[in-house]
């Protein structure tokens, strides 16, 4: 049974985080706009994550295809393998796995970076230098994470499907053209759009949780490690919670 002190600290942290998110929205539209830092963060968060996301996406598509194949053969629907894998990757596995990889890489890096800046007074130095550190550090990172995860997910989906194509051709023979025709013919608007939209929320969650944990880091270097760790754990859990909400919402709108 949960202890009252745990419940109290959970609620207190939830309140702090809500305030932090509220502050983000109020800062979001007010000048001064940190465009240069935003584009730098897009490069760091997006471009630098591409090799990892691409590799895991490729393995995910390949493995999923190889695991599914025996069952599909048993049921005599082996020819439908590109269709099943395509829908699974685009609707669910691609966005969620990419977001989890993203949370591991970017959530921890933002948490540790801001945490170490906090304990070494770099955030204070920024403020003294005529900069709003919240805008410079938090707004730019959250925006960059929100914008970059959808892009990474699209690329990861494409690489996963290419991995799947190779997986099919390990045991069977399917032409490149036939594979992609089968995939795209069976993907509908309501398969792609909800999956694409939810990645914005996943990216936002990873960015805001990483920034919140880092920005509020304390207790010296131990606190930095804790910030990085809890940024990954909380954002991973949040991705699943958002995914659950997304599936309920798409169900209400009849997209399932």
């Amino acid at each position: 049974m949960a202890r009252p002190s745990n419940i109290k600290s959970f609620l207190s942290e939830a309140g702090d985080m809500s305030r932090f998110t509220g502050r983000l929205f109020t800062s979001w539209f007010k000048p001064r706009y940190e465009f240069a830092e935003f584009f730098r963060q897009c490069y760091v968060i997006g471009y630098n994550s591409l090799p990892l996301v691409g590799l895991t996406g490729f393995i995910m598509g390949l493995v999923l295809t190889m695991q599914l194949r025996p069952s599909m053969v048993d049921y005599g629907v082996e020819s439908q393998l590109p269709v099943i894998v395509g829908i699974a990757i685009v609707r669910e596995i691609g966005p969620v796995i990419t977001a989890l990889i993203f949370a591991g890489k970017i959530g921890s890096s933002i948490g540790a970076e801001l945490g170490s800046m906090k304990v070494t007074e770099q955030i204070d130095a920024m403020e003294v230098s005529g900069t709003n550190p919240f805008k410079y550090l938090v707004v730019t990172r959250v925006l960059a994470a929100t914008c970059m995860l959808p892009v990474l997910t699209i690329l990861s989906d494409a690489i996963s499907l290419y991995g799947s194509y190779l997986g099919i051709n390990i045991r069977g023979t399917t032409s490149f053209h036939l594979f992609w025709t089968q995939v795209f013919d069976n993907l509908a608007f309501y398969d792609v759009l909800p999956a694409f939209i939810k990645t914005f929320f996943f990216g936002f969650a990873v960015g805001i949780i990483g920034c919140y944990k880092g920005y509020n880091s304390n207790k010296g270097t131990e606190g930095v490690g804790r910030s990085a760790n809890s940024a990954v754990v909380v954002s991973s859990v949040m991705i699943f919670i958002l995914d659950l909400l997304a599936v309920q919402i798409t169900d209400i709108f009849g997209f399932n």
């Binding site: 007074e121 204070d124 130095a125 003294v128 005529g130 900069t131």
Partner: protein, 258 residues
């Protein structure tokens, strides 16, 4: 028991009397921990004042209140005639452009080169200068601290003493009228610490800045101070030159000089 005012030693008569900073009746608490209680201080143009106190006596809280990183519970901090707690962010930034702050941990940005670290406050305070002028200002500031060759290095490649000098160069680049030093010699070996203190004194002479130095390093106090303020129990407990306070009868003051 001595009365509090009995400890206050008059300003040395040769000191110029134009106050650039005036602190009156300053109070700051964190819960039940009363850090500053009715603290008063004047800083005059061209003067080096050292605030001397034990660890945890509220020295860093004082300096953070002055620069607007913390807000006092009560009292006024007038810098160039403007009361810091009353200022909005834009007005506060204008004051901050004239007040340099050397952080205890140096606070150099790890992800930037030395050049970018020095350019950062210039760019952020919206100072309209060309790239050529920026380059000259960066090199001049680095030459002041004797480290012009490190301009394209990363902070991680520098020693502790060099990082302190770079942080000092970053503080100097805006040509501040007041410099606040938070424990400038902490974590440095005695030789490097002496070099940093020498540099602080040299800079003060060269640019005629006023300095408020937070320290409990007695070498720093002796070498850098025109006047010393002893912070005890959140108050300005005693004030005077090093020689005057060394002979002070009160054990709470004497204790620092033994």
């Amino acid at each position: 028991m001595f009365s509090e005012t009995a400890y206050i030693v008059k300003q040395p008569s040769e000191m110029p009397q134009e106050a650039v900073m005036t602190i009156r009746h300053l109070y700051k608490s964190f819960g039940n921990n009363h850090v500053l209680m009715d603290f008063n201080l004047d800083l005059y143009k061209g003067e080096n004042v050292v605030v001397l106190g034990k660890s945890g006596s509220g020295k860093s809280v004082l300096i953070k209140c002055i620069i607007g990183l913390l807000f006092p519970d009560q009292g006024s901090i007038k810098v160039f005639g403007e009361n810091i707690p009353d200022l909005n962010i834009a007005a506060l930034d204008q004051i901050r452009a004239r007040v340099g702050f050397l952080f205890q941990s140096n606070a150099l940005y790890d992800s930037m080169t030395v050049r970018d670290n020095l350019e950062f406050p210039l760019r952020r305070h919206w100072i309209k200068v060309t790239q050529e002028e920026v380059n000259t200002m960066v090199i001049d500031a680095l030459e002041d601290v004797g480290l012009a060759h490190t301009v394209d290095m990363m902070p991680i490649e520098l020693s502790g003493g060099m990082r302190k000098r770079i942080a000092l160069a970053r503080t100097l680049i805006l040509k501040p009228d007041i410099i606040l030093y938070d424990e400038p010699t902490t974590g440095l070996d005695p030789i490097t610490a002496r070099e940093i203190i020498g540099l602080m004194v040299e800079i003060q002479k060269k640019y005629n800045t006023s300095s408020l130095i937070i320290s409990h390093d007695m070498n720093c106090v002796r070498m850098a101070s025109d006047r010393i303020v002893v912070l005890v129990e959140g108050k300005c407990y005693a004030s005077g030159t090093f020689e005057q306070l060394k002979l002070h009868p009160d054990p709470k003051v004497k204790h620092f000089f033994e």
